[in-house]
């Protein structure tokens, strides 16, 4: 496949990089990435991956844009309030890069649909905001042998890790199971600084790009945590758990399932 002059110009800063080059850019253009959640994490990840020319980007989110989202979900704009988030996201992504195919899934991702949803994609980004969804994505990706980027943000803190089948622990190796609902702060109590999504979601985009082009070291076997108030990053090495319920030696989880979702209504 030859690049057009316009593509050479659009992606020139990638192609110039020795680690990317024309080959890496072609890999990006052939790649298929699914982003689950078009919120604080998904917004920057989707924008950077679209800008990078990732050929096919799926985005799943059941919600509509709310005014309270706009403080951090930079893919949506004020006129988008009330619009489906996936549609608003697609418009922003295609405004940046019309070459990118954006598949939208305006639905709740649960055990009934996640396996089909991830089947067509090379890499999954977890941009969700709750523990049941994070465990669901982990289990489904482990069972379907799909690499994915986990991340979470709250208040001034964020964390991420990358799962690649056969390399390092999964999210469940590290966290075992969701915390009891009473231990999880309600949406009202928690709050989140907008830029934390920008930082952690951009790091997820970075991991995705590195995975696609096959360069550098991924956060497999490490959890990166960031504390914005202390301005501290920590990279914590984590082993695979032999007795992990989904990726261990004798797994008890053989298909994705849903934990009960703590209800939060403001």
């Amino acid at each position: 496949m030859a690049f057009s002059n316009e593509q050479l110009e659009r992606y020139s800063r990638h192609i110039i990089l020795q680690e990317v080059g024309a080959k890496g850019q072609k890999k990006l253009m052939d790649a298929k990435v699914l982003i689950i959640g078009a919120g604080g994490l998904g917004a920057p990840a989707a924008l950077y991956l679209a800008a990078a020319g990732v050929g096919t980007i799926g985005i799943a989110d059941a919600d509509e844009v709310d005014l309270s989202n706009l403080q951090r979900q930079v893919i949506h704009s004020t006129p988008d309030v009330g619009k489906a988030k996936v549609l608003s996201a697609k418009e922003s992504m295609n405004a940046i890069n019309p070459e990118v195919t954006v598949n939208t899934y305006q639905e709740f991702v649960d055990a009934s649909n996640i396996t089909d949803l991830i089947a067509d994609y090379d890499f999954i980004i977890d941009g969700t905001d709750n523990f049941p969804a994070k465990f669901l994505i982990n289990d489904a990706c482990v069972l379907s042998k799909k690499p994915f980027s986990h991340a979470g943000i709250i208040r001034f803190k964020g964390q991420l890790m990358t799962y690649v089948p056969g390399a390092g622990p999964c999210y469940r190796c590290v966290f075992r199971e969701p915390p009891p609902p009473e231990a999880v702060p309600t949406c009202r109590q928690a709050g989140v600084i907008g830029a934390i999504g920008g930082i952690i979601g951009s790091l997820q985009a970075m991991e995705t790009v590195k995975f696609i082009i096959g360069k550098g070291d991924l956060l497999t076997g490490s959890l990166l945590t960031y504390d914005a108030l202390k301005m501290e990053f920590r990279k914590i090495k984590l082993p695979k758990a032999k007795n992990c319920a989904v990726c261990g030696e004798s797994p008890s989880i053989l298909k994705p399932f849903d934990y009960e979702q703590a209800v939060c209504k403001l």
Binding site: F3, L8, E9, S12, R13, I15, I16, Q18
Partner: protein, 85 residues
């Protein structure tokens, strides 16, 4: 001067930095080790920078010929980059 047969030719006189180098780099990526690329480029910024950038990528500059019309022909032999992993 080496003997060489040109395997591929490109003209980058219609573009400006950094697309000049980008086009040359893409053309080189498509060649096999040891093949030779001829690049027609403009005097000034392109002739100052493109050969240098190509050299930094590890390729071998065989010749830079002045065409006498404000353009040059740069002859490059592709060297597979060892540093690339």
């Amino acid at each position: 001067m080496d003997d060489f047969a040109i395997d591929e030719s490109i003209d980058i006189t219609d573009v400006v930095c950094p697309v000049t180098f980008v086009k040359a780099k893409v053309a080189l990526e498509e060649l096999e080790e040891g093949q030779v690329l001829s690049i027609r480029l403009n005097d000034g910024e392109p002739v100052q920078n493109v050969p240098r950038s190509i050299k930094e990528e590890g390729h071998r500059i065989i010749k830079l010929a002045d065409n006498g019309d404000g353009t040059y022909n740069l002859i490059v032999k592709k060297v597979e980059n060892q540093g690339e992993t």
